[in-house]
Point group: C2
Chain length 377, copies 2
């Protein structure tokens, strides 16, 4: 894509933190849930190296919340979630694929059980609210479905915990992975979860009052110096290394959890009922025809893949690269690719059609990137 | 907003025409329905002056279609549309507000009746498919709801008709406003409507085969020289002058058709049943508390408004500017503003808080911009 700028209008919503993000020198944005989401500050590679060593503050307001509240909230949450939420406990987070009746992804949020009759679905980039509200309307359920004034601010990186202890106290350390607890800030009680869009450790603070955005940012950055804190954002290199998928990039409504390797988050072997279950069971019986795999692509360091790159075997198309970039720590181009099942096996070599010509690529498990990083460490 | 670039990934979908758009020198993009939509080529002002005189070719693929097909398609279309579609005729387009049960906008598409049991909703920027599919799921309707491979290409400007006659023949002239007819192109029959995102006249070609995108672009541009054809896009200046609203900018789900002045497109005085009708009738009885109005803002030429600007009266907030920019032809800063009903009267003066300080602004009817342009002409 050319060097076109993003043309700002009200429709591409700013966040409670945007003035600080701009002051910190954001150099790239994406649009995510109709909202600005930073993609780079210094450079992808510098941001990545820093994230792995220190602490970063991330404006992830674009992870909007779909709030389902009311007497039928639990029923509706269970109906839309492939993850079994029947015994969901307040204070816990659940990665929850949301599927259409064909089993295709509509979103892959993290569901927070805020109270027995109140759920937040912290969403990827699609208007999940419309799906949930549409079903509630069709079934005439007793719920309200809203997008509350909640804007997550993430602190990520190996020093995130020590930093947040300085801000919120020692109780931060007691939060287990994918759990959340409440902490006071300027008269409000904020949900803080041990979670985030990286595998470098960290937290997400669910700010529920936009007017406190700058104060929260400033309260954290004021304590940041010992941790070399700087502004950052979800990092494409780290995301691929860590095997974290992006909805709209690595899977769409054309793909099912079985094809993406997320079957373990789907309650297929219980009596949980959810939209898409029949289709998934049928697909499990029949066998999948494509699968998301890792790829290492040979040749010079590749820039971020900006559109699906065709994968070929004997000159026939056998899939697409969905995300890809050069990893400095692995000294290799790494990618995710949705591949025909015939070539979705470790060690298979395919051809990838890049802007700089055809390149050989070898299929691997997605988790192999992390395994190799650990072996290098 | 700073000069941050748009970071391209597969999730921000390219279109069948993107290579030609890039070659034509697109200088700004927005993201609309998860897809690239050009916002400028040379400059907003040059694009605008050209559009009013010649013909432009616009990649508006981001106007995605939500296709509702099947035995219950007509029933579902009527249920979701505030516009009365009970007697919808094939070959006609209908501007159709889509509302939630509170009467707030979820989208404001143009509905095309493709066949008695097949509708396309050519959508603004929200995932309307999820709302429609959610209702169909909840009510167990016999329909399929899909996003087909349809990418509109618009030809706009006063010379659009002559150009398309050269490409598709004299029958183009017979298409009435907001009607469509089919024309052959490379073995396909394409719907072509007299419609578009400007008031300079023109057509939208609903290309239903992505693989023909470049061929269609080239077939039209090959005939473009006599009409000084160049690549363009919906133009912010022209849009405001013409009183065309943008969903997400000028109205959101917080606003109803009565507040935006679109009551005439809502079947309130018939026995049509649609989602949101009760709320609108209640609001009509009680009276609206805010209204979208025009504003002329004094002082130097303003750049495009990129986030809501507060409007004040006696230092109290009475609304926001939703869209605004300098109009060369009116030699004035023009804007839309959602204003408290107490100040939503022609001639009222309010203060607008801009990045360059407080400015006086005078309230007008939205149609006044067009009226003044015609008076100048």
């Amino acid at each position: 894509m050319a060097e076109a700028k993003l043309f700002p209008t009200r429709r591409l919503r700013a966040t409670p933190f945007t003035p600080r993000v701009e002051a910190a020198g954001v150099s790239g944005y994406t649009v995510y849930n109709h909202m600005l989401l930073p993609t780079a500050f210094n450079s992808l590679e510098e941001d990545y190296a820093h994230l792995k060593q220190y602490a970063q503050i991330w404006d992830v307001s674009a992870e909007r919340q779909v709030q389902i509240e009311g007497p039928d909230a639990h029923k509706l949450a269970c109906m839309i979630s492939a993850r079994d939420l029947r015994n969901a406990q307040p204070g816990r987070c659940y990665y929850a694929p949301i599927l259409d009746k064909s089993g295709g992804f509509l979103n892959d949020p993290v569901a927070l059980c805020v109270a027995p009759d109140k759920f937040w679905f912290s969403i990827a980039d699609s208007d999940l609210l419309l799906w949930v509200a549409g079903i509630a309307e069709g079934l005439n359920l007793d719920v309200t479905v809203t997008e509350p004034d909640v804007s997550p601010l993430a602190i990520q990186g190996p020093m995130a915990e020590d930093l947040l202890v300085d801000v919120f106290g020692e109780d931060i350390r007691a939060i287990k992975f994918f759990r959340f607890a409440t902490f006071p800030f300027m008269g409000r009680m904020l949900n803080i979860a041990r979670s985030g869009w990286s595998k470098q450790g960290g937290f997400e603070i669910y700010l529920d009052d936009s007017s406190l955005g700058l104060a929260l940012w400033d309260a954290i950055t004021a304590k940041g110096a010992p941790y070399n804190l700087r502004a950052g954002c979800p990092n494409l290199i780290e995301r691929i290394e860590s095997g974290l998928f992006g909805y709209g990039n690595d899977m769409t409504n054309e793909d099912t959890p079985l094809e993406v390797g997320l079957e373990k988050f789907c309650a297929l072997d219980s009596d949980a009922a959810f939209i898409g279950k029949d289709a998934l069971l049928r697909q499990r019986d029949e066998g999948i025809k494509k699968k998301l795999m890792g790829l290492t692509i040979e040749g010079d360091a590749m820039a971020a893949v900006s559109m699906p790159l065709p994968c070929l075997k004997n000159a026939s198309k056998v899939g697409i690269v969905t995300s890809g970039i050069y990893s400095p720590d692995l000294d290799s181009n790494i990618a995710f690719a949705m591949l025909d099942i015939t070539v979705a096996t470790v060690g298979t070599v395919v051809d990838v059609e890049t802007s700089s010509g055809m390149r050989k690529a070898e299929v691997c498990e997605i988790r192999d990137f992390e395994t190799r990083l650990k072996a290098n460490a």
